[in-house]
């Protein structure tokens, strides 16, 4: 939880050819969830890709993404500190749940301490004792929570959510959603959520931008 700061999107525009897909100019405060709503294919995910640094060469993006006084677009993806959560948990299938989390912890510290941090994070996510489990054996909700903890352990500055709840069934969705938002707020992370689900937007309780 390094110095909490604002995430500023300054005249960020993502285009496909000459067509403007997303145009946004806003500021997201620490702990705030900014929602971008739009049907699939509206290009909302490309906005996240632009911010995180994975924009497909087919698209062009422009504008500054400033976090804590630094322009992220000038940095390589691994130094942007932008945590990214997809609709699939995408836990690395060749690692145990614990190894997935360990992978995220920044280098440094001894192995024992790192492991303890991991166990604590699992405990916090209601996954106590899951360190050696095969990710494939987790339920959907457990996977989602493990994926979130993995991101949080990497000490991100901002959180980017790409329809992370859409694959979960209704009950679970509400539960996981509040878990994610609560964690984000408690760590004072600016959050950018893209979704097509009005429920997500309502629960986020923050500004909403609707795309065509």
């Amino acid at each position: 939880m390094t110095n909490p700061g604002n995430l500023a999107l300054e005249n960020v525009v993502v285009r496909l050819g000459n067509r403007v897909l997303v145009s946004i100019d806003t500021r997201i405060a620490p702990g705030e969830v900014f929602t971008v709503m739009g049907p699939s294919g509206s290009g909302k995910s490309t906005l996240l890709a632009y911010i995180a640094g994975f924009l497909d060469p087919a698209f062009t993006g422009s504008g500054r993404v400033v976090y804590a006084g630094r322009d992220l677009t000038l940095l390589p993806p691994e130094r942007r500190k932008a945590g990214l959560l997809f609709q699939d948990a995408l836990l690395f299938p060749h690692m145990s749940v614990g190894q997935n989390l360990m992978f995220a912890i920044p280098a440094g510290g001894n192995a024992k301490a790192r492991r303890e941090v991991c166990e604590a994070a699992l405990q916090e996510a209601g996954l106590g004792g899951f360190f050696d489990r095969d990710p494939a054996t987790l339920s959907g909700g457990q996977k989602a929570r493990a994926a979130l903890m993995r991101i949080l352990l990497s000490e991100p500055g901002i959180l980017l959510l790409d329809e992370p709840f859409s694959r979960l069934d209704a009950d679970l969705r509400t539960h996981v959603r509040s878990f994610v938002f609560a964690e984000a707020r408690s760590r004072q992370l600016p959050v950018l959520l893209v979704t097509h689900d009005i429920e997500d937007a309502r629960d986020a309780n923050g500004p909403v931008l609707e795309l065509g």
Binding site: E78, R80, H94, A136
Partner: protein, 560 residues
Amino acid sequence: MLRHAPRLTAFLLVGPVLFGMAATLAPAFDFFPALGSHRLSLDPWRELFAQPALLRSALLSFASGILTALFSLAIVAIFVAGWSHTRAFRLLQHLVSPLLSVPHAAAAFGLAFLFAPAGWLMRLFSPWLTGFGQPPDWLIIHDTLGIAMMAGLVIKEIPFLFLVTLAALPQAKAGEHARIANSLGYGRIAGFVHGVWPLVYRQIRLAVFAVIAYASSVVDVAVILGPTTPAPLAVRLVGWMNDPDLSMRFMASAGAVLQFGVTVAALWLWIIGEKVLALYARTLRHGGHRFANDSLARSISAASVLAMVAIVFTGLFLLAVWSVAGYWSFPDALPRSFTLRVWERQAGSLARPLLITVTTALVSTIAALALTLACLERETRSGKSGGSRALFLIYLPLIVPQASFVFGLQLFFLSLGIDGSFPALVLVHFIFVLPYVFLSLSDPWRAFDTRYLWIASTLGASRSRAFWKIRLPMLLRPVLIAFAVGFAVSIGQYLPTVLIGAGRWPTITTEAVALASGGDRRVIGIYALIQMLLPLAGFALATIVPASIFLRRRDMRAGT
């Protein structure tokens, strides 16, 4: 380093082919300073064309190229068309895949042991059915038209084309297109041919060219099964290349250029055939014939594939039986006695070739795998793939006949003083291993869900950490399969090993083919068996290693 990987790879593939061709071409026109000739003349060509039955040899090679490709492709196409998405298809798919690893020479021996007049089939049915107390005097193996040779080649090329086609099917959206055509009343095969095949064929075209090139210039299979009076061009070429008479080197060069011409001509005819067929297919399409009843074609194709699998596996079995056979007279179906004597006697002389075979295969395959991974990783990072031009470069060593450029390469290495050296041998193996490793790995590598890499990056992992910790281990299975493919290809190399190794580096394959002339089936059985088992061991490892590493990782199991 990574940045230069594609260029380095291209150089290592194209360089030897070009140098080899150049070094073949010059002596063909009597110019070869190292052999004391500084002038240009057509004498080597005059000498070449004075060889008896040269035209017939060339025609044999030409026909072998075209017909082998035609039959293999037709069987594969009709089989895939008629049977894909059925249970039988999935079953055969598992049976055919290991066949790819069986070296050509071993498969050819198996075929000979089975179908010769004194072969096992005849033994099984004699004398009670055939009435033969002694083998009939039938010209089956080494027949003058090369039918046995082509059959041996088809058996080996079917698995190759089959697997290449399988890889191309998803990209051609085979399932969807076929369903649409079927719903319009087309038979399975017709629907496939009109709806899917053109897309699939576009992707496997270079592989088909490689088959034509290989079949038109093959040496080992031709020695074992091919005509002898006269032999196909490539076999005679190797004879001339090794002739004690120095002037034969010039003629051999001219012959190697002719071989190149024969292969090019075969490719050219094939391309014309492609155009004609495309026109014909359009006419058919416009005619709207639906060929709804295609059960006969389907049955024949399935029978051919089944027969091919059966032949190779029976051949393998026969090699094993012969290797432990005591005296085994005709028409006994089994030897009178079994003995391990030949194995015991061979144990000593097997060690060195075995060591050389495995070392060469390991070194060349590791190098090829490393470069392939470097190229693919470079592709990921730059976001650019080499496209069809890169694919052509990768196929180049497979499309230029081996005999044409490896002979030049030998002369070239000879003048550098590195002929017969181990690095030279590894290099020439590498040239033939790399394309297969690349082709085998590039699809699964590109199909990797890159979101895993994004996640790794957002978690703060550098690109190389993401490569080593995420992509490589997650793709361990296809990487090891590619390794096994490369290993198998290296083990099967005959001509490059003989020409570049200069006799100093006997491998299981060169020893097996040398023994083919010896005729002792028991010794052949041992060598061909080992030749078959080595690559199979590679594939077994490629399956077992990831399975045991990821024993407790369900999503890392095969098929996911």
